[in-house]
Symmetry: C2
């Protein structure tokens, strides 16, 4: 239900079009909760049917603008008071547990590809962090989250460099790690 | 399909019972890919039906023991060669984007509860890191992943303390953050 509550949370700030919400998911929720156009539009229709948002006057070029209703605001506030699920699923990091199945050079190559991903993310987050801060309420929460993104990517890159050294060292004196299986 | 491939990866090391696999998911995959008993057993049945694992002689007290087949090993190696999905979903961190909707004291209380979760995880990972290292192939990959877990939790705790200071400072001179909406 997190897509639903995220949309309500974004609409709690101000009315927005589906396009603006899609862009905000991409730009503002960073990588915490990816959602595509094809997931967002049907969910907006459901939220409207449930009376949690309503369509206001059409925006420029006839775009539908959605606003949160009092019931929608109650719903998002109630969600924020529940305890979050602490399980996360990280499909790329899952591979690390199985690196031992790969030849050491393939394991290192995997980590090198991951490094490029995390470097790109770090650059993206650092660039966002340099933009001027508007003193809106959503903005300060976004800055908190963005700071975490920068810390996460920096730590991941340090870990990645260390992990490659471990794999390289393992293979050097006593032959390949695979030979020790 | 990551549950499927994780089970194959764990069986690539040695034959195991469903109970052992369930325990390994909990203990060895840390929080990267949570899976319950009720997900693991049906998936083992499917893997067996697909010829990727087979039941070997029953273990003690009649427990079923599963072993990977050559086709299963091919399947897990092929998975490791694919590019991973880099999207992650983090339901608890998602809340951070919407902290501005909460009263500052509620936002701080949320972060304090999160701190307890991350402190518990850090203690769990640090305790695992102190256990003697067996020089098996799976073990070194596990140590790499565990090191990331320790780094992640430490960084999260530092971020959490910083984020609470930011929220406290925002409310001090000019009234509550909510008043600035």
């Amino acid at each position: 239900m997190s897509l639903r509550h995220s949309l309500l949370g974004l609409l709690a700030e101000q009315p927005r079009t589906g396009y603006e919400l899609t862009r905000l998911f991409d730009e503002s929720l960073l990588n915490v909760w990816p959602a595509s156009h094809s997931q967002i539009y049907p969910e907006l229709a459901k939220l409207a049917a449930d009376g949690l948002i309503r369509q206001t006057a059409s925006g420029s070029r006839g775009k539908k603008v959605y606003a949160i209703t009092p019931e929608g605001l109650d719903e998002v506030m109630a969600w924020l008071r529940t305890e979050p699920d602490h399980s996360t699923k990280n499909p790329s990091f899952l591979r690390v547990f199985f690196l031992w199945l790969m030849e050491p050079e393939d394991a290192v190559a995997f980590l090198e590809r991951e490094e490029l991903e995390h470097e790109a993310k770090l650059r993206e987050f650092e660039a966002k962090a340099e933009l001027p801060v508007r003193d809106t309420s959503r903005e300060w929460a976004f800055r908190l989250a963005l700071d975490w993104g920068v810390r996460y990517e920096r730590e991941m890159l340090e870990w990645n460099a260390w992990a490659r050294r471990v794999i390289e060292e393992r293979r050097t004196p006593a032959g390949s790690a695979r030979a020790r299986r």
